[in-house]
């Protein structure tokens, strides 16, 4: 599975060196690389089904500092690597229409993908951090060069938010390295180093917040809607699909497993909040409800999806903070589920609809009768919307159910509050669906009248393929969740047990 990383970076390098103006070649090459990544990820996933953690590579990297180049995969990694493969292929398919600086676009795209694969497979804290930061720069350029609305602002905001987050992680990393005696930065070594509780008490929140910034935790989520909206479609798909997962994965793999005692009770409580765990759970719940409510009143179609991501990522963080088997499993499943569904939604809104109507304003879309003129888009959004609402049969249902069950076991009122979020989630999806596609409003073509009633381009094969891929990925897990759960559950069990909880 390590080849997913190397292939992506090699692909990025070759893309950068490709002659300019050969868009078709660049596209085809990127597709081949992404597909190869997906195949390796799928084979790795299938091959590793019954196994626990498998070490792929483990060689000294900086011998004098005890830093090793350790790649390994456990159940959680395998699921997320699979997700990354899916998102990469779908991302290439939905950026088939990029004509400007195509080879550079795919170079940055593949570099980002390579970094993401790297994070999910690293079992050395230092290595993980390196891959985590490698992913920052391509994001900036993808948004700043190929983006739309306020792209330079959004790109800079995203880059600085990510970099501040990673600076917090770096501080904790340095401190953990020094406190544990400067021998090793291996995740397992650090977890077994017996770091003092007082140290963990401040290292945990620092690391957790550092990573959770990228997971869109309220109140550090503000980069997410602006970033998603400004980004080109493929970049929004990756941002929501896998980059936010990097944050959540970091919270789980680094913050929670290295500093488990950081979640211990403080010994006093204020308003029922007695530990960092409570603090972050409450922030997650606020994120769920806040994201959903804000999504309800957006006028820009893409902002609706952007805020819905904040809401859905709240479920991931809430699931992590339940600290029980079912809740954390649900959180990992929700990472996968949201990755696929958010990719789907952004693809429909950003690529299928926006590229043809050139507007994302719901008010303008209302007058365009898209359900008649683009039935594929309308029904695709119906399916994606149902998945996003968490209807049974889709992956979101299984994932959110598990998170809610887990949180009920931990603190019932978290569940109650998160349930409100689900209801509002149905409302905003319904509202967007109705306004964008199934509205009976009269024609308002004064702005984009020149496009006329018949000017919409037909749906292309990459769009159909990409849609089918992602929809099938969500549906398959919704109908038969054991495919993933069998892989996730043992890994979560090992992680919770190893974490000393």
């Amino acid at each position: 599975m390590a080849w997913t990383i190397y292939l992506s970076f090699a692909g990025a390098l070759i893309e950068a060196l490709l002659p300019k103006g050969r868009a078709g070649l660049a596209r085809a090459f990127a597709f081949v690389v992404a597909l190869a990544g997906l195949v390796i990820a799928a084979v790795g996933f299938a091959a590793g089904a019954g196994q626990g953690r498998v070490t792929i590579v483990d060689v000294p990297w900086v011998a004098s500092m005890g830093i090793r180049y350790t790649l390994a995969a456990d159940g959680i990694s395998r699921v997320l690597v699979l997700l990354t493969g899916l998102a990469a292929v779908a991302g290439v398919l939905f950026s088939w229409n990029i004509d400007r600086r195509t080879n550079e676009f795919f170079a940055f795209f593949l570099a980002l993908i390579g970094g993401v694969y790297g994070v999910f497979l690293s079992f050395d804290l230092f290595l993980l951090f390196v891959f985590y930061e490698i992913a920052i720069v391509p994001k900036y350029f993808l948004i700043a060069i190929w983006g739309s609305t306020r792209r330079e602002y959004a790109a800079m905001k995203l880059a600085l938010y990510s970099f501040v987050g990673s600076a917090m992680v770096l501080i904790a990393l340095l401190a953990a390295y020094a406190t544990s005696g400067s021998h090793s930065t291996g995740l397992l070594d650090l977890a077994h180093a017996g770091l003092p509780v007082s140290f963990q008490m401040w290292a945990f929140p620092l690391t957790f917040v550092g990573f959770a910034i990228l997971a869109g935790m309220w109140p550090f989520h503000t980069w997410a809607p602006t970033g998603h909206v400004a980004a080109p479609t493929a970049a929004s798909m990756l941002l929501a699909g896998v980059v936010m997962k990097l944050g959540a994965y970091g919270c789980l793999r680094v913050a929670m497993s290295l500093f488990p005692h950081g979640m211990d009770p403080w010994g006093w409580s204020f308003l029922g909040i007695g530990s960092w765990r409570d603090v972050f759970a409450v922030l997650a719940v606020i994120g769920i409800i806040y994201g959903a409510l804000v999504a309800l009143v957006q006028t820009d179609f893409k902002f609706v999806i952007g805020y819905s991501s904040v809401s859905h990522m709240g479920f991931v963080l809430l699931g992590l903070m339940t600290l029980n088997q079912i809740g954390v499993t649900g959180a990992v499943l929700q990472m996968y589920s949201h990755g696929v569904i958010a990719g789907l939604l952004f693809a429909i809104v950003g690529r299928i609809v926006y590229e043809r109507t050139h507007t994302r304003q719901l008010a303008e879309l209302e007058g365009m009768h898209l359900s008649r003129r683009m039935p594929f888009a309308a029904w695709a959004f119906v399916i994606a919307g149902m998945a996003s609402m968490g209807l049974p049969g889709f992956s979101g249902f299984v994932a959110e159910l598990q998170v809610l069950v887990g949180s009920w076991n931990a603190r019932p009122w978290w569940t109650a509050a998160a349930g409100v979020g689900i209801v509002v989630g149905v409302a905003y999806t319904w509202r967007a669906l109705q306004k964008a596609f199934f509205s009976d409003a009269p024609h308002t073509h004064h702005v984009h009248g020149n496009h006329g009633e018949h000017a919409l381009e037909p749906i292309t094969w990459p769009e159909v393929t990409g849609f089918c891929l992602l929809a099938a990925a969500s549906l398959a897990i919704g109908l038969y969740p054991r495919i993933l759960l069998d892989t996730i559950e043992p890994a979560v069990k090992a992680l919770l047990a190893g974490g000393g909880q």
């Binding site: 920052i136 900036y140 800079m156």
Partner: protein
């Protein structure tokens, strides 16, 4: 005093001086009528040859010590250990700087330029190994005088003259402070040897407070702080970086910094390594509880460095945010980087990992800065300006320059897997390894936070190079040698970033970590 020994230990310096004279003879004697391009190529080739010869002689030296009277008490010069690393860096970076001279046209006196660079580098070599106040001062002046001349070398440019005058005035002033500080140190401790001074200061602090010592330290820090452009002695840096010809600015920003930081390593090393590091020396007075420990000037020196470090990190990074000239931006970023390094010098360990971390940082930083000035030089020749807007659409005008700039600036910002990140990690890890108290930790947190700030201004330049539309689409021609050198620097930054052990192990072969 044995002059044969002196000759043997200063062989590399001699080689450089000979090369400098040779350049002058060839350029002024044989090539008077030749075209500028030929003269530049010849002078550069001879200069690089001189550096390589010096490097080769230096490798053959091994570890040597030169004393005035045969006892360690009068140690003047050393080679080997961290000195060898710093000297090799000085020579290597000088050679790279000289290579960037090819294709430039700011002066017709290339022979003199190369000769002055080499003589200045001689001063740099000297202070890398200096252990005595007088040798330090002589070496520093040798280095600095060359730098003033180099800064003023673009005779037709008013900026260059202004920059040189400012640099010279500030430099003269700080040299005066330094000399005054040295004379106080000598007067108070009775020795000009760094180790002796550190040892004597311990006795003095045990005997009672010695305010004159602290005054001397502040004076010395003013002189050395000027050389490394640490706040509050940084005022010359932006003007000098902006006005000097690009190769001269690259030399000021890299070689001079490397040599000055090597000197600071010697100073810090002497303070933590009294009597050769055989024992940890405290003066303890019996009969009082708790027993006071006397560390001499080590603590006040650390305190001064900490203050300069924190101020440099803050002021450098924040001021860089507001710059619109890329050279000034690099100057403020240099101030910030000096701040990070000073932090590691303030929390310095007797074990060699501290010195190695600092060396790693300055070597890689020097290389990166030279590359950055190389790119700026080319862009400046094409557009006539170093404003950020001169970089608009660089990725179209010259993909190579843009890619090199991307790698170098991201490395300066500390993005992995580029070498700048390793340098920072190594440095901060060394600080925390020396002391795990709250203060060093806060300072490291400040440094890491400030390097997050720095990403913003580096991205401002990269944004113009890659994102914003070009105002002018004409391709920029890069001289093949310059292109090769810049590519090699960028490649080194990437390769050393991916395999950081290479450089680390190389440094450790000279200065082994126990």
């Amino acid at each position: 005093m044995n002059y044969t020994d002196l000759f043997r230990i200063t062989l590399p310096e001699t080689a450089l001086e000979v090369a400098a004279l040779l350049v002058l003879v060839v350029d002024l004697g044989f090539l008077r009528k030749a075209a500028l391009g030929v003269r530049t190529a010849m002078a550069t080739a001879l200069g690089v040859l001189g550096c390589v010869t010096a490097l080769w002689l230096m490798q053959g030296q091994g570890s040597m010590r030169f004393t005035a009277d045969g006892t360690p008490n009068t140690l003047l010069l050393v080679t080997g250990g961290y000195t060898a690393v710093a000297q090799a860096a000085v020579l290597g970076l000088t050679a790279v700087t000289l290579l960037l001279l090819i294709g430039t046209t700011f002066t017709r006196h290339v022979g003199e330029f190369v000769a002055v660079v080499l003589m200045s580098a001689t001063g740099g070599l000297l202070i890398c190994g200096a252990q005595d106040l007088l040798v330090i001062f002589t070496g520093l002046e040798l280095l600095s005088l060359g730098l003033y001349v180099l800064t003023a070398f673009a005779k037709s440019s008013g900026n260059s003259a202004e920059a040189a005058l400012k640099y010279y005035l500030f430099g003269g002033m700080s040299a005066a402070f330094l000399l005054f500080g040295f004379s106080l140190l000598y007067g108070v401790t009775g020795s000009t040897n760094l180790q002796q001074i550190a040892a004597a200061s311990i006795e003095m602090s045990a005997a009672g407070a010695a305010p004159l010592l602290y005054v001397a330290l502040v004076m010395v820090s003013a002189g050395l702080g000027f050389k490394v452009a640490a706040v509050p002695f940084q005022l010359w840096a932006p003007d000098t970086y902006e006005g000097a010809p690009a190769p001269a600015a690259a030399f000021v920003a890299s070689v001079s910094k490397v040599a000055s930081f090597a000197l600071l390593i010697s100073v810090s090393m002497a303070m933590v390594n009294v009597f050769g590091g055989a024992h940890r020396v405290f003066m303890v007075r019996v009969g009082q509880a708790p027993l006071p420990r006397y560390l001499g000037i080590q603590q006040p020196w650390s305190l001064i460095l900490v203050i300069m470090a924190a101020a440099s990190m803050l002021a450098g990074n924040l001021a860089a945010l507001a710059q619109s000239s890329v050279r000034r931006l690099l100057a403020y970023s240099a101030i910030a980087h000096a701040g990070y390094i000073l932090l590691a010098l303030a929390y310095f360990s007797r074990s060699s990992f501290s010195a190695n971390a600092v060396l790693y940082y300055i070597v890689t930083y020097g290389l990166t800065t030279i590359g950055a000035f190389g790119v700026i030089g080319v862009v400046e020749r094409a557009t006539g300006s170093d404003r950020m807007d001169a970089f608009l659409g660089l990725h179209k005008r010259s993909p190579l320059l843009a890619a090199v700039l991307l790698v170098l600036f991201l490395s300066l910002a500390g993005i992995p897997a580029l070498v700048g990140f390793w340098a920072k990690f190594n440095l901060f890890a060394a600080v925390l390894r020396v002391s795990d108290g709250v203060v060093p930790f806060t300072l490291v947190a400040l440094a890491v936070g400030m390097s997050a700030v720095s990403l913003y201004y580096y991205l401002q330049v990269l944004k113009r190079a890659y994102v914003m539309p070009a105002a002018d689409d004409t391709p920029i021609r890069v001289h093949p040698v310059t292109a090769l050198v810049l590519f090699a620097i960028a490649a080194a930054v990437v390769v050393l970033g991916c395999f950081p052990g290479l450089l680390q192990d190389w440094i450790a072969t000279y200065n082994p970590v126990p």
